[in-house]
Symmetry: C2
Subunit: 241 residues, 2 copies
Amino acid sequence: MEKIYGNHSVRAVFMTRPKTIKRLILLKGKKSFLNNEYIDLARREKINPEILPWDQFLQAVDLTKDDKHQGVCLYCEPRAIYNEKDLELLRDARCVLALDQVSNPQNLGTMLRNAAFFGVDALLLLKNRSTDVTPVVTRVAVGGAEFIKVFKVINLARSLESLKKIGFWVYGLDERGEKTLAETDFAEKTVFVVGAEGEGLRLRTKKFCDMFVRIPGGRVGLESLNAGVSTALAFAEFYRK
Amino acid sequence: MEKIYGNHSVRAVFMTRPKTIKRLILLKGKKSFLNNEYIDLARREKINPEILPWDQFLQAVDLTKDDKHQGVCLYCEPRAIYNEKDLELLRDARCVLALDQVSNPQNLGTMLRNAAFFGVDALLLLKNRSTDVTPVVTRVAVGGAEFIKVFKVINLARSLESLKKIGFWVYGLDERGEKTLAETDFAEKTVFVVGAEGEGLRLRTKKFCDMFVRIPGGRVGLESLNAGVSTALAFAEFYRK
């Protein structure tokens, strides 16, 4: 079962894949108009919402008071996760984000939120070297994770090759990129590749980039932006054009 | 005393205000080339670094293992914090960020990092309704907080008026803004006003904005970006031109 919590994330699951929802758990005493909203949504899907007092709620949802659950949590069938063989599904996609070893759940959540906001089609994650799309990640994404196709791939280089074969150009985000985002005429079908904070892109990933682009700015003592922020700047520039 | 921890933040204090440093505390066994760097920096300032084993280190720096201290922490005189009467200092500034009630330390830290990256001159915070520039905030800013003048103001509206008097135009970031960031010809001297996530700008703050600008994007179920991300998009657009 997949666990999803927080208002935005729960609403997004009701919006995108309501049939997968198995349990809806609400905190007793949560602002009543909010609980009523969820009760209505649940009834439409023939789910019987469980409304529990604080202690039982935390136990049922297996969260602590520090998790920003906002008094709402659901359990659903796990989201569809695609693999390398499914990349063909992106034939009509326009913009894809590929992550080279990003391991920070906050950053991954922010990236999913950014991607959903701008209309990015898919996210590629390294199967063995990235954080998973965990409950924390979907919470930080405030629903964004439901609007993006997630691919877990074993070999990022090979996956980039597959995307190139169906018409994509691959842009690596790199401080030493030859052009800035604003100077770049992005291809109709664009992949952005982003590395782990502090480490950047691996050499073997770099080999498969068609071009490197940079975000102009920085100073001695502060050379880079947060990886989540960087992806938003890339998406904004792509969709600006 | 102000406490600063983490590699980037500590380096930035040595770079910008070394004379304010009173104590430097290093974790014994931290990668030796890093400790040697700090020992050199400290000696130049005639500070005797304290190199402590794990338990004593955590006690001396009053942090837990979950704080991302990276084995380095310093205590220094508190940073200069300006107030409304000092706004005159911004006569030659080009870009200022004003926060209307932003209370999330992660977001504030990200904003300071973004501001330093792009070369923003100053940050205005509401004295009574914002998070402070705490050790967590400076840690998240990875040094960015040292490169930005921070003003704590009692009345944001009055402060915006003062800035207008010295030539600034005030742009409110708002989902319902009449123009997008890309469509806007920003003034030579620009203030960006950003509200709290989920709440946006207060009505009384809105009255003092010359114009509202929006970030194009969003969809039903995911209407907005994280406030930290939004500021980066605004700065990028301002400095793009």
